[in-house]
Amino acid sequence: MVAVDDVDLHVPRGSVYGLIGPNGAGKTTLLSMLAGLRAPSAGEIDLAVERSRVAVLPDTPKFEPWLTASEVVDLARHLVAPEQPSSAVGEALDRAGLAEAASRRTGGFSRGMLQRLGIAACLVGQPEVLLLDEPSAALDPAGRREVLDLLVSLAGERTVVLSTHVLADVQRVCDTVGVIDRGTLRYQGPLRELLAHVTARYRLVVRGNPTGLVATLEGRDWVEAATLTGPGIIDLDVVDAAAAEDHIAGALVEAGVALVSFTPATDLETVFLEMVR
């Protein structure tokens, strides 16, 4: 069985790249090979950066429970970037929101704290690329939010490649995505382009009589379908997202209803399921 086949990742420098795919798609295997933890059974792996400039974080990082957070990060500093001053340890912990826990032993850390400590241990080495395997999979909502916020803050500063099957996380933090399924790359590129591959959907919430607006919208050539889904709520499938955004105001005026909200409703899950179906 081939776990990963002829995958060529194009990861823009400074981007947050989401590697998404169903369970068993080959995400972890691919990251392990990129990290040098596994060798390909055939072929070669070429990295555009030195392997020493790549930091890796497993999905559920664990450290020696008798080490303090500061000692873990200092060990990482010593092994990867001994030229960095010892103050870099405190800075990395501070960046990860663990400054106050610096002298605490990791044995008492929550999963979210361990994840952030792992990221701090990566950051202290000033890597060009961070490889994160399912960084939020094992976290509770609060821990997940902390880690995702931290990743968002890294955008533009470091290149982050994260694998996940939590599509909401990708939509929240990633600007570039790669869809992997059964070991092959089905798509890679900007997230917004991926979302534009499918019919765009918007949700309209209006005040007034929505029935007239539905009729008005159905007469437009950029509208595929307009469906009344609740009191004052219309789901709008469009064939041309740009045209929809340009002309929706005119349709509202024509129908004589007031706009409460107009929001994109196409989600990555829809796109993803279409691609891997």
Partner: protein, 250 residues
């Protein structure tokens, strides 16, 4: 924080030294005591009657012999268990990822672990021998220290060799229990080769009880062949262990 300091902290904070010290300390005290008071002990628990005369009066070498006999078994077992816990660095994959992705060569991880495990075992062994010697001197009389030191150093060489075997086992298996069983199996099986009489003087296991022989007058030169074999096989074991660790995937 260097890898060397990491290993020092591992032994101190996980209290691995307590297990070693407790075992060696216990036998360092009970060895000479048993040698000195064995007759009184047996009389106290059941009465020996005339048979008491058959038990010889303890002599100084008996104090060390008792200590060596005990630490050669339970002491070695403790050393192997403690060392296996130290050397099994792929037991927890997440921590192994942390370390392995931060060094160019996994041998960098093995060396401090091996040295620390060996230093702690050797230190405790030497301290235990020193305590046993002091008690022997107090309870049973003086003992020639030269042969004791040479015999003890030969025993230390065996400990270092046994921990090298543990390192080899850690490159074969990732689980501490498997590492312990593999190492003990090898350590127990090797002396069986001594049944072939011409092989016996070459076996590293001869070093284990060398001190018991040297303090009774056996020339230390008799153990040079065992020492040489331990050195050569130890070097080979190190090469093999590091080679396997380099190619092992997580």
């Amino acid at each position: 924080m260097t890898l060397w300091r990491l290993e020092l902290l591992r032994h101190l904070r996980t209290r691995k030294w307590v297990a070693l010290t407790a075992v060696y300390g216990f036998f360092a005290i009970t060895g000479p005591l048993t040698a000195r008071y064995i007759r009184q002990l047996l009389e106290a628990i059941g009465g020996l009657g005339d048979a008491a005369e058959l038990i010889p009066q303890g002599v100084p070498v008996d104090g060390i012999t008792q200590f060596t006999a005990n630490v050669s078994q339970l002491g070695l077992l403790t050393v192997v268990i403690v060392s296996a816990g130290t050397l099994a660095f792929d037991t927890r994959p997440e921590w192994a990822v942390f370390l392995r992705t931060r060094v160019a060569d996994p041998a960098q991880l093995l060396l401090p672990r091996y040295v620390a495990a060996t230093l702690f075992a050797v230190t405790v062994h030497l301290l235990g021998t020193a305590v046993a010697y002091a008690l022997t001197r107090i309870l049973l009389g003086p003992l020639d220290i030269g042969p004791l030191v040479i015999g003890t150093l030969l025993g230390v060489a065996y400990l270092a060799w046994a921990i090298l075997l543990t390192a080899v086992a850690s490159s074969i298996s990732e689980r501490v229990l498997s590492i312990v069983l593999w190492t003990l199996g090898t350590l127990i099986a090797l002396p069986a080769l001594g049944l072939v009489s011409w092989l016996e003087p070459w076996l590293p296991s001869e070093l284990l009880g060398a001190v018991d022989e040297t303090i009774r007058g056996r020339p230390s030169g008799d153990f040079l062949r065992s020492l040489a074999v331990a050195g050569v096989t130890g070097a080979g074991a190190w090469w093999w262990a590091t080679r396997r660790l380099r190619t092992r995937e997580l």
